[in-house]
């Protein structure tokens, strides 16, 4: 039986070409990062830069350390016992990996949206307002809430029932509420860990659209196992893959990182090519 090989994804052609790399502002300089759980490496030697006001996608097969990597960027792995990290992650030039770095301050600038919608068991309004109140952004609270919900393309659907429980919303609405919650506190970067993996296609499209609409204001890093999604929304794409060490241990590593257009049409590495053409993964 023979398998015909064809590109699994089509990259949108109408997108604007990226300006030359050196003209872009770097928001993260990630250099030689190893992330270990209980001494076992989950990702090894990741080096890449993340550019301001772009959408950067992290793609790769399950278990390649995509989520581990993105959670390094806002110190979310601190919550996991036995987690250690070596290498440096510079955020606007400052290393955020050190023990003396305050993770609370890091997360204040680098927000996150999770795989499963995780609204607080509060009203729709309070889900967005809570972070603002706690962080002392109380001036014009109602306006801020409305703005965030509008940006997250949710306002029209919920404006008449802001006092209703957030858990009464559908999964897609809950996830947009979580995005509203994350952007309400005016972060610099929004990390998205497979934000649409639990959603239907319509909700997924809404979230992709809002990323495109908002990237002028924020920088997005999105983990996705959905190549089409990366092709649709990302300006830059990083492909992670699973490698085997000398003793057979598996770890994730960054194979290739380039403009999305190039990654999906003319990748330099055969592993990337295998993955984006659907031969592997």
């Amino acid at each position: 039986m023979s398998i015909t090989i064809q590109p699994a994804v089509r990259v949108e052609t109408k997108r604007q070409p990226l300006p030359p790399r050196e003209r872009l502002e770097r928001i993260f300089n990630i250099d030689g990062v190893d992330a270990l759980y209980g001494g076992k490496p989950a990702i090894k030697d990741v080096t890449m830069d993340v550019y301001k006001n772009l959408v950067t996608a992290i793609i790769g097969p399950s278990g390649c350390g995509k989520s581990t990597f993105i959670r390094c960027l806002n110190r979310m792995n601190d919550l996991i016992p036995g987690f250690t990290l070596t290498g440096t992650i510079r955020y606007h030039g400052q290393d955020i990996t050190g023990n003396d770095v305050d993770p609370v301050a890091v997360r204040r600038h680098i927000g996150m949206v999770f795989q499963r919608p995780n609204p607080f068991p509060k009203s729709i309004y309070d889900n967005v307002a809570w972070g603002l109140k706690v962080l002392g952004m109380k001036d014009g609270l109602a306006d801020r809430v409305e703005r965030a919900l509008t940006q997250a393309a949710l306002w029209d659907e919920v404006k008449d029932r802001l006092k209703a429980s957030a858990l009464s919303l559908s999964g897609g609405q809950q996830q947009r509420l979580c995005i509203a919650r994350a952007i309400a506190v005016e972060p610099d970067v929004v990390l998205m860990d497979e934000p649409a993996s639990a959603l239907d296609p319509i909700a997924t499209a809404a979230i992709e659209q809002l990323m495109t609409d908002l990237k002028g204001e924020y920088t997005f890093v999105i983990v996705t196992h959905n190549m089409q999604q990366a092709a649709r929304v990302a300006d830059m794409t990083a492909f992670f893959s699973i490698s085997r060490g000398d003793e057979g241990e598996r770890y994730g590593e960054l194979v290739e990182y380039d403009a999305t257009q190039k990654m999906f049409t003319a990748p330099s590495d055969t592993r990337t090519e295998d993955y984006v053409t659907g031969r592997f993964g």
Binding site: V104, P121, C178, R181, V185
Partner: protein, 332 residues
């Protein structure tokens, strides 16, 4: 492949005709009998208590509940529950007030703050506190706690907060309502804290991460997410603790000192419903006193039932308002 092979097994066997399976039948019987036995037992106890209290109810009526007197002298017998109700209320409510912040703090420490290596051992130590028989805690209350409170704590409280009537002159001997309160606090602390700990552990990690990802501190996360999520359960845990404090007889009897009067000072002696029943039942002088003691038991029983029902009601109400219960994830 021929088409005969494709005919699945199921097509050749009828799916109709439900058969009674012996195992299912047996399970239904055994489980049903167990459930019925529990219900019948509650009803039997309630009936027996009402029955036993009936002569006292007939003689003293509802007035019994508020009357502050217990006179077993034959011929001049008058009984009332007033002072015991007061003693029960003040000991259990104050014990709860002391235990609640301690228990919640303890649970919070064990789930969110303590270094991981400490969590398991400290948790089992706290749970061990619940395993100490109440009569042992009572003995310790008599020999250790009572004297310490009487010599050091009561004088200190009296001299600094003496203007509040609760903190009157220190007791002359160890036993006092205050000692009973501290003993009860120790007894309800592990129950409330272990239930609360379970509740905190049940807060989905996603919710905590969602809060922390906004750049909030751990305390802000606890206040904004963990407490609201566990609120209904904590209220129910406190009511269960209150029920335990109200019903505790032995340890309280050992340290409270006894007496039929209402003193505002915590450092005087007194009695609770449960301690009065425990200390007087053996030596009841007349049938009427015995019936009156059972009347006390009836009041206690009604209170316990109310506490239990209201605990369930609170849990359900909060669950409805939030759209989640302490044991449900609430995602979808």
């Amino acid at each position: 492949m021929s088409s005969a092979e494709l005919t699945p097994e199921v097509a050749r066997r009828p799916l109709t005709g439900r058969r009674a399976r012996l195992g299912d039948l047996l399970l239904q019987l055994v489980a049903g009998a167990a459930a019925a036995a529990a219900t019948v037992l509650v009803l039997l106890i309630a009936w027996k208590v009402v029955e036993g209290a009936r002569p006292a109810i007939a003689k003293f009526g509802v007035h019994f509940i508020t009357r502050v007197v217990w006179n077993p002298v034959v011929g001049r017998e008058v009984f009332g529950a007033g002072s015991f109700l007061f003693g029960t209320a003040i000991t259990s409510l104050l014990a709860l007030a002391l235990a609640a912040p301690l228990a919640i703090g303890c649970a919070l420490f064990l789930t969110e703050l303590a270094p991981r290596v400490l969590r398991a051992p400290v948790t089992s130590l706290v749970e061990t506190l619940a395993a100490i028989p109440s009569v042992v805690i009572g003995l310790w209350g008599i020999y250790v706690l009572g004297p310490i409170l009487q010599r050091h704590v009561e004088p200190a409280l009296h001299s600094t907060l003496g203007f509040i009537p609760l903190f009157g002159p220190p007791s002359s001997a160890g036993p006092s309502i205050f000692t009973a309160i501290v003993v009860l606090t120790m007894m309800i602390l592990p129950i409330v804290s272990s239930i609360t700990r379970e509740l905190f552990l049940g807060v989905p990690r996603e919710l905590k991460e969602g809060a922390l990802a906004l750049g909030t501190t751990r305390w802000e996360m606890v206040r904004g997410v963990v407490f609201p999520y566990a609120r209904g359960g904590i209220a129910a845990a406190l009511i269960l603790g209150l029920g335990r404090a109200v019903g505790e007889a032995i340890a309280v009897t050992q340290v409270i000192g006894g007496g039929v009067f209402i003193h505002l000072s915590l450092f005087s002696t007194g009695d609770t419903l449960a301690s009065k029943i425990a200390s007087s039942y053996q030596g009841a002088a007349t049938n009427l006193e015995e019936h009156s003691l059972i009347y006390l038991a009836l009041i206690l029983l009604v209170f316990s039932l109310l506490a239990n029902i209201s605990a369930q009601w609170i849990v359900r109400r909060v669950a409805r308002r939030q759209g989640v219960g302490p044991n449900r994830g609430g995602f979808g």
